[in-house]
């Protein structure tokens, strides 16, 4: 049981969610995770943290402000991530057919409770 258990369990209950993780943005390491069988948490964490960090830096460089929500749609799945003021990023890996709207709401709720 960690401070992130309930956040991750709530995210993982969403239909089509394969993995939910709390990741350190700077280190790209898993802080806590709920993974479906076959998901490589370390790999997802490293890549999602790197992607989120680059998006944040790009948004700042383009003077667009802070990144609110990051979404990557790929052929066999999608990655959604939100980050706040701390080093922590909440990441969800979902099926292509998953409802991104609901996932997005849950991610923002999770971020609120994290901060």
């Amino acid at each position: 049981m960690t401070p992130f258990t309930s956040i991750l369990e709530s995210l993982s209950r969403q239909r089509g969610v394969r993995a939910s993780l709390v990741v350190s943005e700077n280190d790209g390491l898993v802080v806590d995770s709920r993974l479906r069988f076959g998901q490589d948490g370390d790999r997802v964490a490293a890549l999602a943290a790197s992607m989120y960090r680059k998006a944040r830096l790009s948004a700042r460089a383009a003077r667009l402000g802070a990144v609110a929500f990051l979404q990557l749609d790929a052929e066999r799945g999608r990655v959604c991530a939100v980050g706040g003021r701390s080093d922590l990023v909440i990441v969800v890996v979902a099926d292509p057919a998953a409802n991104v709207g609901l996932i997005r709401v849950e991610l923002f709720k999770a971020l609120e409770s994290l901060e």
Binding site: S24, A46, S50
Partner: protein, 160 residues
């Protein structure tokens, strides 16, 4: 980034690792401190001292792990304010090597560890089998090998 190797089978996997992990410097060395490949170094003296220090750190951490936990610590990570280093062994058919990776904020420990696993797999697959007859390593051979490897890496003629 400039990459130089003593063993040609090391080059492609190391180049991929350095590119993917966005490493600033990388060294592949024998646990005795003999350099096998380097990426990003510009001076021989830096390679020599980095190899000696990496081999010593690896040996020290291994022994410390054995004393504390009964098993050698495998990987070491040090995070400085600007740069970080990751030191970990690589097992191949030609024996064990040590890889020292230096990275900065362009990369992360998670990415380096992830691509390091791929490097280990690729090196294990690429390593040719060990010759059946091996010469014992003695002090004179060590220095000769060290000079030969450094000469090969920095493109200077070998002096005996």
């Amino acid at each position: 980034m400039n990459i130089a190797t003593v063993e040609p089978w090391v080059e492609a996997p190391l180049r991929r690792f350095v590119d993917d992990a966005r490493a600033r410097l990388a060294l592949l060395l024998h646990p005795s401190g003999q350099v096998i490949a380097q990426a990003g170094f510009t001076r021989e003296v830096d390679v020599m001292s980095a190899c000696a220090l990496a081999a010593a750190s690896h040996a020290t951490a291994g022994e410390l792990g054995r004393r504390v936990d009964g098993h050698a610590f495998r990987s070491l990570h040090y995070a400085g304010p600007e740069r970080q280093l990751f030191l970990s062994p690589v097992e191949t058919a030609r024996g064990a090597y040590i890889c020292l990776t230096v990275f900065n904020a362009e990369s992360s420990l998670g990415l380096v560890r992830m691509y390091f696993e791929e490097l280990c797999t690729e090196l294990a697959a690429a390593a040719p089998p060990l010759p059946s007859i091996r010469q014992p390593t003695i002090a004179a051979d060590f220095e000769l090998d060290l000079n030969r490897n450094l000469a090969a890496l920095f493109g200077r003629p070998v002096t005996s």
